[in-house]
């Protein structure tokens, strides 16, 4: 791009451009004729014959130069320029017209000339950026690569529409239809070429590079389609978004990721209802992955491709570290036993939640210490679960030593995760290296995990348990406690054997059972019972049993504590019993002492309870973690966040505290013996708490990036990374207000009736906005758009259609196109007419740029520009925020999909980028945010959300209208819009502030200056009435938040100043007390996100 721009400004064109519209040279008509004469083929031939040029090449060179000069002179003298008002919308675009077009060749040339573009008579890969044609012969379509050389082939309407929109529209929707079918084949050859293009990206003209990308994307989208038929258009769109901030390789990568992730999901999630949702969210997140493998060659891509397929097919050719495998994290969790155990719990909870909570364990309250004596607990444990499940259908292995291990490579450096009893007889243990195990037992058979089978067996296992007893506490997928105290009529030993038999019959795996008076005793009994037996420790035998029990076997006594105990000469529980509780507590700490004291007496106060809600959700990888550079880390963190986000979503939880754990190689640690293991490590851990709970991948990414940065580690030293989310809240729709429309709809009829002048659609729309405000994640939006259709229909059935004159045009125009067409249907097609009419009127009435439905195409071009800037100016805008695409599942029309490329709200727009934009463009861009999107610009402000939630939808809208300014950008321009609004607010303090701004800060628009004067000038405030106060607080907070967000990256000094001034103001005014309260946590969270610390308050 740079190049063509260069040629553009070469010669005298650069200086001429500015003046061209004024010069109306009468002679230019003639020049034009001459130019075309020269351009026509016969004349060029004849001139060649008689020319002094040595060869055709040099002739063409001269000719092209001449044509170019002619074009430039013409453009500068502007034969077509009617008035000086045209924008140079095609700046940087250079077209080549192929074949017959409407409008004609010549007209297109005129357009390009007038609107700052270039027109090439001869195709050249170097100068042309777009090929314009209406129709292509089959041969060209078939051999598109040779024809287009990777350039976009676009219909001429693109030019025309761009001109009528007065801005450059995205060309993608105007792609030649013929080509769409052949797209898949393009991916292969676009990838290699376009990785060169990033260097060419320049802020204003980011089109050509994108060209290549999106065609690649297109291709990949279709590829994905093959495997994921249902979600084709989703992919399409996601990939479309992926374009802007990723390089060509990324897109290749992205596709792999997509493929992979959908498969992963398909495998992991048995629940088909969930699957769709998760797959799509997965897709979404994966498109945002600028892959770390930017520098990989095409061959590599090819390999990856093959590899991903191979992995999918279940082959064991896997890459073993984060270094080589971009999908490492996914594969890791796919093959991790611990992961299986960890996620199993959620599965269990979902599956058995109804049965356990439905019964409500009536007496669980009484089941405390006193009744514990009489209680009977059965502990059931499947024998060597991970092995026996795998070999349950392989009779030939039943009495052979078998161990489960993720790999059976000849080096034998993998760890055995479970061994069956014949193997244990040889001394093979879990955690042993395969190599050592084979030394002990040469005939040892190594089998891989079979996670589906594990799930199946675990489900069967629990089905059986729940059938026999309603008090089941699941410990793990293969281990559970049953409280059978109530079942007096059944002999526990008989029950246990029945259960064991059933388990053996159903699953083919043997189970062991221990029966005791407490959970502790039951568990200890199981140990004796194993394998495939059962053991009952009755109350009178407890002491006898414990007397000789080594302390190390007690649950909760690990190697460290055991050593400590043995040092003190406590080897058995019997010895331990001789010591008083107090001295135990003195020696080992209160809790441990207490535990030792009661365990050594066989006491266990715990009672069998249902699965508890997990307190933390997270994922940790500490095998195969090797990073080369920061990019690898970023990529890895992204994947990890994706995983964690999925887990959160799986549990329907959102969390506020994020802890990043790092395993760092100890300074003198050698490369571990375990292949790719973590070895000897220091464990580091840091956490951040954010004000609003989330499960959004991007937020997680941002936080984890910050956390990782705060360690200041050498990435090569990192051996393990874990991300944990705590302070969990339920993401349940009922707790979150209206996250899904369906929940709202049940109450919809009522509200519709009370607000007669309103209508369903408008309400819907506000609800939409509400939902979006509640969480920033794209996922919920996805749910919305999925549910949008049914909701409208049911809305229609539940209330009569409001008359058309009552419809709010503003709302209608901002509706997603699918929704609108749906609505239009219910109004018998009159709706579009109405909108059309209204729009016509408005256009006449106002000159302001109005983005409505026909502006949809326009918005695409803006968002593209933003991204163009982002890629080039990556340094200044640390983290380009990626707009959340929502999904237009139903539509095939590209134009419609384009709407959602816009960031859904201003808050998602990177302000530093926005500020870089020319004034004009910025204004347009701001105008391009539909009003209902503006409403939720500060979606992460908890205060605001609460406030909104409380008020009626109706009120919200009113408030929005009143405040209006509150969410659009308050800090653009000078004086910024907030000043005016404050002035008109009617609140004396706000008026005063606006006044001060005019006086002191106009030359240097710093908030601290304003606040400083506010502090000194206003002695004491008399606060307005409470009603007014709320609004003022909200306004001020909004203002400050935007300001802080603007400044946090570059100017913490200013933030610090404002923060302290606020504190001072809080001493004098109720309003500022509230503002300070709200903002201090906000500021601290933001600061810790950016700087890894908190501002000093004192």
């Amino acid at each position: 791009m740079k190049r063509s721009f260069g040629s553009n400004s070469s010669g005298n064109n650069g200086s001429n451009k500015k003046t061209k519209k004024k010069n109306n040279n009468p002679s230019n008509q003639k020049t034009l004729g001459a130019a075309w004469g020269a351009a026509s083929l016969p004349s060029s031939r004849s001139s060649f014959r008689s020319s002094p040029f040595s060869d055709f090449g040099s002739y063409m060179e001269v000719k092209n130069r001449k044509l170019q000069n002619q074009y430039e002179t013409e453009a500068s003298t502007s034969s077509y320029g009617v008035s000086g008002s045209e924008k140079l919308i095609f700046q940087g675009i250079s077209i080549f017209v192929d074949g017959f077009t409407v409008p004609s060749h010549q007209e297109l040339r005129g357009y390009m000339m007038r609107y700052g573009g270039r027109f090439e008579n001869y195709f050249s890969r170097r100068t042309v950026t777009h090929i314009i044609c209406s129709n292509l012969p089959d041969s060209k379509v078939k051999n598109l690569r040779a024809f287009s050389r990777g350039l976009p082939v676009v219909k001429p309407t693109w030019i025309v529409d761009s001109i009528s929109a007065n801005r450059l529209l995205g060309w993608v929707p105007y792609q030649l239809d013929q080509l769409n079918d052949t797209q898949p084949k393009l991916s292969a050859f676009f990838a290699p070429r376009s990785h060169l293009t990033p260097q060419l990206v320049s802020p204003v003209t980011s089109y050509p590079p994108e060209t290549g990308y999106s065609e690649v994307e297109e291709g990949s989208a279709i590829r994905v389609e093959d495997s994921e038929e249902s979600r084709d258009h989703v992919d399409n769109e996601f990939d479309g978004v992926g374009i802007e901030n990723s390089t060509a390789e990324t897109t290749e990568q992205t596709r792999n990721d997509d493929l992979k992730s959908s498969e992963v999901n398909a495998e992991i999630l048995a629940n088909p209802g969930k699957e769709e949702k998760e797959v799509s969210s997965e897709l979404q997140s994966s498109t945002n992955l600028p892959s770390a493998s930017d520098n990989k060659s095409v061959h590599d891509n090819g390999k990856n491709d093959g590899k991903s397929i191979a992995t999918a097919a279940g082959s064991s050719i896997r890459r073993h570290s984060t270094l080589e495998d971009p999908n490492f994290v996914e594969n890791y969790f796919k093959n991790s036993r611990l992961h299986f155990i960890g996620t199993w719990r959620n599965r269990y909870r979902k599956r058995f939640h109804g049965s356990s909570s439905g019964l409500k364990w009536a007496d669980s309250g009484q089941n405390t210490a006193e009744s514990a004596k009489k209680s009977t607990i059965i502990h059931i444990d499947l024998d060597s679960f991970f092995v026996s499940v795998v070999i349950r259908n392989r009779l030939e292995l039943h009495d052979k030593p078998v161990a489960v291990c993720h790999s059976d490579n000849p080096k034998g450096t993998a760890e055995i995760s479970s061994a069956n009893y014949p193997a244990r007889a040889y001394g093979v243990k879990a955690g042993m290296f395969v190599r050592h195990a084979k030394d002990l037992c040469p005939q040892l058979v190594i089998v891989p995990y079979n996670f589906e089978a594990y799930e199946e067996v675990a489900d069967q296992f629990y089905d059986i348990l729940h059938m026999h007893c309603r008090k089941v506490q699941a410990v793990s997928c293969d281990e559970a406690f049953l409280d059978v105290s109530d079942l007096r009529d059944v002999e526990p030993e008989l029950l246990a054997s029945t259960i064991r038999k059933e388990i053996l019959d159903t699953t083919g795996c043997s189970a062991s059972a221990g029966i005791g008076g407490t959970m502790l005793m039951a568990r200890l009994a199981t140990r004796v019972a194993k394998p495939a037996g059962q053991f009952h420790i009755s109350a009178d035998k407890v002491e006898e049993f414990l007397d000789q029990l080594p302390v190390g076997t007690l649950p909760g006594v690990g190697s460290v504590l055991k050593e400590k105990l043995e040092k003190e000469n406590f080897r058995t529980c019997g010895q331990l019993r001789l010591i008083s509780k107090d001295s135990l507590q003195k020696d080992f700490g209160v809790k441990t002492g207490e535990m030792l004291w009661s365990y050594s007496r066989g006491l266990d106060l715990r009672s069998v309870t249902a699965v508890q809600e997990s307190k933390t959700i997270g994922a940790e990888v500490n095998w195969g973690v090797r990073f080369r550079d920061q990019q690898d880390v970023q990529h890895f963190l992204r994947c990890l966040c994706k995983e964690v986000s999925l887990r959160l979503q799986g549990c329907e939880m959102i969390g506020r505290t994020f802890t990043l754990k790092i395993k760092k190689r100890k300074k003198d640690a050698e490369e571990p013996t375990k292949y790719m293991g973590c070895g000897d490590c220091d464990n580091l851990s840091r956490s951040i708490t954010v004000p609003a709970a989330t499960d959004d991948v991007e937020v997680l990414q941002r936080i984890s990036k910050k956390l990782f940065g705060s360690y200041c580690l050498d990435v090569k030293e990192v051996r393990g990374v874990g991300l944990q989310v705590s302070k969990l809240e339920s993401a349940d729709p009922s707790n979150k207000g209206s996250r899904t429309l369906t929940s709202w709809l049940s109450s919809a009829p009522a509200s519709v009736q009370t607000e007669k002048d309103d209508n369903v659609i408008a309400a819907d729309c506000r609800e939409n906005a509400d939902c979006k405000r509640h969480d920033t994640g794209g996922v919920s939006r996805l749910r919305e758009s999925n549910s949008a259709e049914p909701s409208v229909q049911s809305g229609d059935t539940s209330s009569s259609l409001p008359p058309m004159c009552h419809l709010d045009m503003e709302v209608l125009e901002n509706l997603p196109p699918e929704l609108l067409s749906e609505l239009d249907g219910t109004y018998g097609g009159k709706l579009f007419e109405l909108i059309e009419k209204k729009r016509g009127k408005r256009k006449i009435n106002s000159n302001s740029p109005h983005i409505s439905l026909d502006g949809i195409k326009g918005s695409k071009s803006f968002s593209v520009k933003i991204h163009g800037l982002r890629t080039s100016g990556e340094k200044e805008c640390g983290e380009p925020s990626v707009p959340h695409p929502s999904i237009a599942t139903t539509s095939n029309e590209r134009t419609i999909e384009m709407t959602d490329l816009m960031p859904s709200s201003l808050s998602q727009v990177d302000f530093s980028v926005l500020q870089e934009l020319p004034e004009e463009l910025r204004a347009d861009l701001l105008g391009a945010f539909p009003t209902h999107r503006r409403q939720h610009s500060s979606s992460d402000a908890p205060m605001e959300t609460c406030k909104k939630q409380d008020t009626e939808p109706r009120d919200v809208k009113d408030a929005e209208n009143e405040i209006g300014f509150s969410c659009s950008s308050l800090w653009f321009g000078n004086p910024p819009p907030w000043v005016e609004n404050f002035k008109a607010s009617g609140n004396s303090i706000l008026e005063k502030i606006a006044d001060i701004y005019y006086r002191v800060a106009q030359s240097r628009p710093m908030l601290s200056t304003v606040l400083q004067h506010t502090v000194s000038e206003v002695g004491s405030f008399h606060d307005a009435n409470a009603n007014d106060l709320d609004k003022s607080v909200y306004d001020v907070c909004e203002l400050l938040k935007q300001y802080i967000k603007l400044k946090v990256e570059g100017d913490i000094e200013e933030i610090y100043l404002c923060f302290r001034l606020l504190k001072r103001l809080a001493a004098t005014s109720q309003l500022f007390v509230q503002v300070y309260e709200i903002l201090s946590s906000f500021i601290q969270a933001l600061i810790s996100e950016h700087y890894g610390g908190s501002l000093s308050v004192s």
Partner: protein, 201 residues
């Protein structure tokens, strides 16, 4: 990028390095790490600043600053920290220069403007005595640079002077006290203090 741009961004980096040298000296002086007799008054950017009169100290600071030049030019340096340690190697106070250079805008800035902006840092530093904590007994200090990514081995001779640090980290996020910020093109520089949070063990 043409050579003219190169020159300009190099210019910015050089100015910055010079500034860092002065600023680091100022910080050490401010902390009273050495007796004030170990410094002499000099004029820099038309300001009175201190300079170490002991050649070894001066050399250390100077080499630390100039050693950063190639990395700053490459845009690798994210933060430069002047860290003061207690006896057992735990940092007690860190002066952080967080910097971002945008080479593409370098051409547009005038030397004078940049100097003017950097001057304000030195002025602010000279009056920031109240922000700093008293030094513990038997402490030491060092200059640490945090790079965005590790440079290739042997990329430059100067680079070899830098060794990976084994500084202990704080377990909790620190408390930040901003001193001065400069947010402009081509240089975005922030100076702030980090102290261990109160709950730090």
């Amino acid at each position: 990028m043409n050579s003219k741009d190169d020159n300009h961004s190099g210019e910015v980096a050089r100015t910055l390095v010079e500034f860092l040298e002065v600023a680091i000296t100022m910080i050490v002086f401010l902390k009273g790490f050495y007796p004030s007799a170990a410094f002499e008054r000099r004029r820099y950017m038309n300001l009175v600043v201190q300079r170490a009169s002991h050649p070894e100290l001066r050399d250390y600071i100077q080499s630390a600053a100039t050693g950063l030049l190639p990395f700053i030019q490459k845009g690798l340096v994210e933060r430069v920290a002047v860290i003061f340690f207690s006896e057992d190697n735990v940092p007690v106070e860190r002066f952080i220069f967080k910097l971002t250079i945008n080479p593409s805008c370098a051409a547009s800035v005038e030397e004078g403007q940049l100097e003017f902006a950097l001057r304000s840092f030195l002025i602010k530093l000279s009056v920031s005595k109240s922000l700093v904590k008293p030094l513990p007994h038997n402490c030491r200090w060092e200059v640490t640079a945090y790079l965005r990514s590790l440079p290739e081995v042997g990329s430059s001779k100067e680079g070899e002077l830098w060794i990976p640090t084994d500084t202990k980290q704080w377990q909790k996020p620190p408390v930040i006290t901003p001193v001065k910020s400069l947010d402009s093109e081509p240089l975005c520089l922030q100076l702030y203090l980090e102290h261990p949070s109160f709950s730090e063990p």
